[in-house]
Symmetry: C2
Subunit: 292 residues, 2 copies
Amino acid sequence: MQSDQKSRQRPTDLKKEQVMHDLLLRRLCQYVDLSSIEMTAIAKLVSGRPRHVAARCRLLQEGDALGSIFYLLNGWICAYKLLEDGRCQNLLFFLPGDLWGFSAPLNSRTAYALRTVKDAIVIDIPRDGFLEVIARHPGLTEAFRWSGLVTDEISRERVLSLGQRTAKERCAHMICEIFWRLRAVGEVDGTSMYFPCTQEEIGNTIGVSTVHANRMLQDLRAEKLICQHQQKLEILDLEGLQRLAYFDSDFLHLRSLDPPPAELRSFGKPLGLGPSRFSESDRADARRTVNA
Amino acid sequence: MQSDQKSRQRPTDLKKEQVMHDLLLRRLCQYVDLSSIEMTAIAKLVSGRPRHVAARCRLLQEGDALGSIFYLLNGWICAYKLLEDGRCQNLLFFLPGDLWGFSAPLNSRTAYALRTVKDAIVIDIPRDGFLEVIARHPGLTEAFRWSGLVTDEISRERVLSLGQRTAKERCAHMICEIFWRLRAVGEVDGTSMYFPCTQEEIGNTIGVSTVHANRMLQDLRAEKLICQHQQKLEILDLEGLQRLAYFDSDFLHLRSLDPPPAELRSFGKPLGLGPSRFSESDRADARRTVNA
DNA sequence: CGCAAGTTTGAATAGCCTCAAATCCGGTGG
DNA sequence: CCACCGGATTTGAGGCTATTCAAACTTGCG
């Protein structure tokens, strides 16, 4: 493993091999009940050597042949498309526990590029072996079918957003979507989450300019719906945020919405933000922003 | 069959049973080479009794359980999503030869509603039987996997459109997309096609108001890129239209771009527009609009 | 002929963009 | 410790794009 010595603040280190597949299992169990045999099979599949990828690194380019499947352990990865004149549209964020590349036909090529948003940890999985194992287990087949469906639903919901929702609604909707997705794999801390997107990235996602994304975020903060500090985002009023965005979590097909078991709450805590850094001062900061 | 007597102008009548699967076969053969056994299997699947559906009829509602798969023989069907306050976003048009409902997991529900745009002819296919047949034939499995991929790609391209393209570009892009899709199944006549969308529908598709959709279409006509008459749309300058829209047909994964065989050119010619109605006067009309 | 649906037009307004500059922040080097 | 640098965020002003509302017009159809 590539862990360095000063690992206290580096949650990207993998403490036990066991945790590597916890995120994925938790995701898949949202969709179907897996047998222990199937769980073991998954655990084996994702037991490869984790690979660190730096922030803002392109993993794949539009038109590339499909390589191996990858399993995202930590960090965010962004799928995006470009227009010839440079305009960039983000399609989808891959979050910890997400798997990429299992549903495309053989011999097809990616229709979009992939780039890390922040430092990420990825495990590469050989495509053939993966597909073969999945095909042997009906539960896994079904689980990944659902997983693919959710990706499609996110895409359709994004079409609805971009076509009909206002910029502020889109902004709120995006935050809700990511919150629920992270929550489903236990990657939130109560109502706050690691949110490493720049405002440019948010703009590219919701289809507005960076400047306007900034103003929409300011509005959401002014309305006490969210508050931000560094790369952490806290949802102050989830109900209000969802009402504003016309957000309904159904499209994510989440089943178990219970808080994750305590022993898993600490895993995957993102990049160097200790628990002490998000309390008093943040609130103060939020208030300051409101009054400005 | 439900054909009435005055059938001269009613292309919705089915002349021979044979043609019913031609569209579908042509679509699938875009993706893979099918064996004659597979072609026969498909022909059998879609040999059910055609059902006429009136214009603007809702076939399915958001949240409905999956019923049978349907095969669209004639007309357009539109998938759309609603916001609670009534805003409506069109996601995708199903065109003649398209099949709906083969890729969702069992027990899932539709995340969008379906409604006919114009009178349509549909064949219902029992889901279980269909999936079983497909699964037995590797070529068909592969073909439908590609077909599903194309749907996804259209969705992603729409995200790109709504997020980054201007209204005029989106309008042009939508026209190009439908032209290529219709052309792939032989449903175009040179550079003109049946285009039964109202401007409201176009607006709901490209994410602008009806009024603005109208103005964008006027622009395209003024620039001599398209010309419209009744429900027929002729592309006067495909190159120009595509350049304007940053359109690249790759995302549709079309393979055989040759003109379809002559004997099939006349089938499925849409609703009551004789060939004589689209010549002189239309050009004059287009010019008039430009000068206004 | 008259109705209903669809298209077109105009004017006022709201939403969003561009450009440009200022500020904030974390990290780096002195 | 401070100065500085670069990336990210914030602010302001002006302009373009798209919306809304309302009315007129066109067209297909009974």
